[in-house]
């Protein structure tokens, strides 16, 4: 396996990018994009890019993003940062579905 937090960050970025691209409206897309931007900011923008295909649907992508963010806790992000990102993701998802 890869070492360090790079794979998890890359996977989270890919999932968030997928969600932003597939969002139902432009505000939801912007919200997902902001989660991604905040993640980049927290990780000092030192994250590699990920492989393209992250999941077939929104549900898989959301689960992948959550799982990857939680995996980063203690590695590259603090618990508070992870909580903030998860809350932002939930808000974005609410805007997307609603």
């Amino acid at each position: 396996m890869h070492e360090g937090p790079a794979p998890a960050t890359a996977a989270a970025r890919a999932a968030l990018g997928y969600l932003a691209d597939q969002a139902a409206n432009v505000h939801a897309a912007s919200d997902y994009e902001r989660v991604l931007l905040t993640l980049d900011m927290y990780s000092a923008d030192a994250a590699p890019s990920a492989f393209e295909d992250v999941g077939a649907d929104q549900r898989t992508a959301v689960l992948a993003a959550r799982r990857s963010l939680l995996a980063l806790e203690g590695e590259q992000l603090t618990s508070l940062q992870v909580e903030i990102l998860l809350a932002m993701l939930d808000d974005a998802l609410t805007g997307d579905l609603g």
């Binding site: 890869h2 070492e3 360090g4 432009v26 900011m41 994250a47 890019s49």
Partner: protein, 432 residues
């Protein structure tokens, strides 16, 4: 901009050319000598503009006449008319005894109408020189150089015509070799007009700096407009890659939201906003793989967040005024230009780098997977990058092309040059 300052110069010169019977326009006999000296000083300012503008054009000015000698190692046999004109201008300036008017003379109003008009011509020329510095930084094409030569030739011809007209004024000193200067100007104008001169340089030159709008935030769309204006002002310093992504996001949201609002006010603008939203969605995707550590743009990022936040409460039933829509469009085009410039400059300077893509995990290959050491790699060939291509093709080339034909001031100046006064004192033929 060169277009604005050049238009001002041509308009003032046109007005001056329309002032006939000049001897009667001077003041009392004891004042004439001083006024004539002042006018000669103002003429120096205009000559200075002519010479400096020509210097900008000369490296790219080639004669349109067929070369007598096609061998590039030998002289072509045909000299460039623009170079001849530059030489004549330099000779006229060298032999003149008057010094260019100083700031005090350029800024203080004169009570005599004729001298005042000359002052305005000289002031326009001095202001127009400020644009030349900025224009020198960009590469001028041959067709654009021809446009500049054509402008200089017209102003020089006007100076020669005026020189003849003031010939009988007591104390007037003619331009040295005025006739050959006039012929050189005519030859240069004829030479460049063998092709179609390109006046797209009109948009180049000095631009006033965009200042952020402060104060109370207006309600509704005007608040968004204010934030959008401040985004443009904030993009003046080079933005950090992350902040650029925030700005791009706000522009995508803005374009997508304005499109349905524009449908009611001005349906012709809907394709512009739809296309812009698509462009920014694409740029946003492509920017995700770009990183960087240097740059500012905090204000732009903060105002971009304001744009998005202030757009949220605006619903589809909001009516957008045509003036507001036009202002949004103007700002959008300027932001597009700036973002395209930032993207290109960022890669050229090496501030933007591309993320390393993680290799796909393949459990069946049996190869060892190496840990990723590098996060980014520098861009060696920025032109091949999809992001740069998108910015170039969809942000830069899409903007409205400036009118390439002569504008009204150019036509009027030529009409005034050809116009003869009916009074007996003026010459019946055009003396050059």
């Amino acid at each position: 901009m060169y277009g604005e300052s050049g238009t001002a110069l041509r308009q003032e010169m046109t007005d001056l050319l329309r002032m006939h019977r000049v001897q009667r326009r001077f003041g009392a006999a004891d004042e004439v000598a001083h006024q004539v000296l002042l006018i000669r000083q103002y003429r120096e300012n205009v000559l200075a503009w002519c010479a400096n503008a020509l210097q900008l054009a000369i490296p790219m000015s080639f004669t349109n006449l067929p070369p007598r000698n096609p061998n590039p190692f030998e002289p072509s046999g045909n000299l460039s008319a623009a170079r001849d004109l530059a030489r004549e201008l330099a000779r006229a300036r060298r032999s003149s005894t008057a010094t260019p008017a100083a700031l005090k003379q350029l800024t203080n109003r004169h009570e005599n109408t004729l001298v005042e008009k000359w002052r305005q011509v000289a002031r326009a020329a001095a202001l127009a020189e400020g644009d030349l510095d900025q224009m020198g930084r960009q590469s001028v094409t041959t067709a654009q150089a021809a446009g500049v030569v054509s402008d200089v030739a017209a102003i020089t011809q006007a100076l020669v015509v005026l020189d003849r007209r003031y010939h009988r004024v007591p104390g007037w000193t003619d331009l040295e070799h005025g006739a050959s200067l006039g012929w050189a100007a005519l030859a240069a104008a004829l030479d460049v007009n063998l092709t179609v001169p390109d006046h797209s340089l009109d948009t180049a030159g000095w631009q006033p700096r965009v200042r952020p709008m402060r104060g109370r935030v207006p309600a509704g769309l005007l608040g968004v407009l204010q934030a959008e204006h401040n985004v443009l002002a904030g993009l003046d310093p080079f933005p950090h890659a992350l902040r650029l992504r925030l700005v791009v996001d706000s522009q995508r949201v803005l374009s997508a939201r304005l499109s349905p609002l524009a449908r009611r006010t001005d349906p012709a603008q809907v394709p512009f906003w739809d296309e812009r939203a698509g462009t920014y969605a694409q740029i946003q995707r492509q920017l995700r793989d770009i990183g960087g550590i240097r740059g500012g743009g905090e204000r732009a990022a903060a105002e971009a967040a304001n744009v998005v936040a202030r757009l949220k409460p605006i619903d589809g039933s909001t009516v957008i005024e045509p003036r507001t829509l036009a202002a949004f469009r103007m700002l959008a085009q300027r932001i597009d230009d700036r973002i395209a410039a930032v993207i290109e400059e960022g890669f050229r300077r090496g501030d933007f780098v591309v993320r390393v893509r993680l290799p796909r995990l393949d459990s069946t290959s049996g190869n060892l997977v190496h840990p990723v050491r590098a996060r980014y790699r520098p861009v060696l060939d920025a032109d091949a990058l999809p992001l740069v291509q998108t910015a170039r093709q969809r942000l830069r080339d899409r903007r409205s092309v400036s009118p390439s034909g002569p504008d009204a001031s150019r036509v009027e100046l030529h009409a005034a040059l050809a116009h003869r006064s009916r009074d007996a004192g003026s010459p019946r033929t055009l003396h050059l």
